[in-house]
């Protein structure tokens, strides 16, 4: 013992920096994300994300299947928001082949996408809250999420991997009484959002854990190409539903909630407000739901024109999900690239976590709302 002071505390604790592996099996990484961290005690000095643990070769598979057979693959990329993935893909194919969707299909798609946005945000809130230490929101959120999944199940038979859209329109019409049940849910939903907010929004622990954590300045966000609630949390008014409207979004009224400071708390508020807005959109869509066909006239075998390329993107729950498709005159896409919002958003993680505590890292991963299926594809 007497030798220790001789070394002196400053040399004894000379080891300032330590490398720490976070994941790929970690309850808070939302899948199989791996982070190589450089920590000084509890402080994160640097972070290097290592991804690809769920790389399944989806983009290669896209090239091997006909256009309409690729829809199920899009389900499994962002598996908590299958409907928006379907829409982005189908929209791209429609743009490529010049298909025009009938209005009823457009409205049904809008309803499905907004339901999906709510369910995705609910899942985000549940996991984010668990990461930060609140268990109860998980049960609340999943309670309502199941109601949405019931609606999906009634429409297309699946809970997660919906496969509920086709290039050109919708595969089937809404079941009898579906709109009533949907309205019933939408009308009861704001009260539930109040419930979550009652648990969290003014909760002192929640606020201490999220305010000022992971601040993302708007200029940096644009530079990185961050999209979705992450971008809007930083106060940038950019929502593809408003900026480049698709489907029925230019025929309904809704607000785009914006944050001010770009921290975790603001992003939380933005997503909570988005859920309320989604309810508003669904209600209007059901009111306006036109009658008519749900599928456009299209050739039996869908072939893209030669040498033509399109990029089509929509506002998914995580951000801008886009498909860049190159057609070569055959039934299969020549190249189909996915602009995955989680992939792009995750890039900013090192800049967000620098000089935060290890516990805040978990909060920041939660607030970026990544889905590894989409990051790795």
């Amino acid at each position: 013992m007497s030798e220790l002071p001789e070394k002196g505390p400053e040399t004894l604790f000379d080891l300032k920096e330590m490398e720490l592996n976070f994941g790929p099996q970690h309850p808070s990484t939302h899948g199989v994300l791996r982070l190589k961290l450089k920590v000084d005690g509890e402080r994160v000095l640097d972070c290097y994300p290592i991804i690809g643990y769920l790389h399944r070769g989806t983009e290669k598979l896209f090239e091997l299947h006909p256009y309409f057979q690729n829809v199920p693959h899009t389900d499994r990329m962002d598996y908590v928001a299958a409907a928006t993935n379907n829409l982005a893909y189908c929209g791209a194919v429609e743009k490529l082949c010049g298909l025009v969707t009938p209005p009823r299909a457009r409205y049904i798609r809008t309803i499905l996408c907004e339901l999906q946005r709510i369910s995705s945000h609910l899942l985000w809130l549940a996991t984010h809250a668990i990461d930060i230490g609140a268990m109860t929101p998980f049960f609340y959120c999943f309670r309502e999420r199941e109601l949405i999944l019931d609606l999906f199940e009634e429409y297309c038979g699946a809970r997660l991997t919906l496969n509920c859209m086709r290039p050109g329109g919708q595969p089937h019409d809404l079941p009898l009484g579906w709109t009533d049940r949907c309205l019933e849910f939408v009308e009861s939903f704001p009260a539930h959002v109040d419930e979550y907010e009652g648990l969290l929004t003014n909760n002192r622990i929640w606020k201490t854990r999220t305010i000022g954590i992971g601040v993302l300045p708007p200029e940096l966000a644009l530079d990185y190409g961050i999209s979705g609630p992450m971008l809007r949390g930083s106060g940038v008014d950019w929502d593809l539903r408003k900026a480049r409207p698709y489907e029925a979004y230019d025929e309904v009224e809704f607000d785009v909630p914006l944050g001010k400071n770009g921290d975790t708390y603001d992003r939380y508020l933005v997503r909570m407000a988005e859920m309320r807005q989604s309810g508003r959109i669904i209600k209007q869509c059901i009111d306006k739901l036109p009658e008519g066909p749900i599928m456009a006239k299209k050739p039996r075998v869908l072939k893209a024109p030669k040498d033509c390329e399109v990029y089509f993107s929509i506002e998914g729950p995580k951000g801008e999900i886009g498909f860049y498709i190159v057609g070569d005159g055959t039934t299969n896409p020549y190249r189909c690239h996915v602009r995955a919002p989680s992939f792009i958003n995750l890039q900013a993680l090192p800049d967000l976590v620098r000089n935060h505590l290890l516990a805040d890292l978990v909060a920041i991963i939660g607030t970026t709302d990544i889905v590894l299926g989409e990051v790795d594809r």
């Binding site: 899948g31 049960f139 809970r159």
Partner: protein, 167 residues
């Protein structure tokens, strides 16, 4: 242990079996370890509607060293495979593995350069649950089958339960 060497079933071993199996069956602790889409349904299983705790398996442990059951929920890629094997090796005996969904069972729709064609290539699987992804009820079904399988364990032959039979 002398008991485990007993070749025949007798009143001692069968009574012990009953107690051990009851204990093991009633508190299967799964590892909190999601890979892909199926992990979302795995989370749905612990939600209020499906409530896996009715079957004694709601205690998800984040550490492999505290868990009995590895729920392989999702696509196993080649990059992930060694890690899954390492996690499996870290779990204490007796342990079970449940392959959830088409990807974990056989690679599912992904017959590509990056995907392991079934987790049974790297770890022994006790129960396969079909589906893409399986419904939470299907996962509960798989768990109940696993429990039935645990019920057939005997301390006379502790190495037996890793045989690859769908119960």
């Amino acid at each position: 242990m002398g008991l485990s060497e007993a070749s025949e079933a007798n009143i001692l071993t069968t009574t012990y079996d009953k107690v051990f199996n009851w204990a093991r069956r009633s508190a299967v602790w799964p590892m909190q370890f999601g890979l892909a889409c199926c992990a979302i349904e795995m989370m749905a299983v612990i939600d209020p509607r499906h409530d896996m705790s009715r079957f004694g398996a709601e205690v998800f442990r984040a550490s492999p060293r505290q868990s009995d059951l590895m729920l392989v929920a999702g696509t196993v890629t080649e990059k992930m495979a060694p890690i899954i094997r390492r996690l499996w090796d870290q779990m204490p005996d007796p342990k079970w593995c449940l392959a959830m969904g088409a990807c974990a069972t056989c690679g599912g729709p992904y017959r590509t350069y990056a995907v392991t064609q079934g987790v049974d290539r790297i770890v022994p699987v006790d129960v396969y649950v079909p589906g893409c992804p399986p419904r939470p009820e299907a996962l509960l079904w798989g768990l109940m089958h696993l429990q039935r399988k645990i019920d057939r364990m005997t301390i006379r032959n502790p190495a037996q339960p890793t045989s690859r039979v769908v119960a």
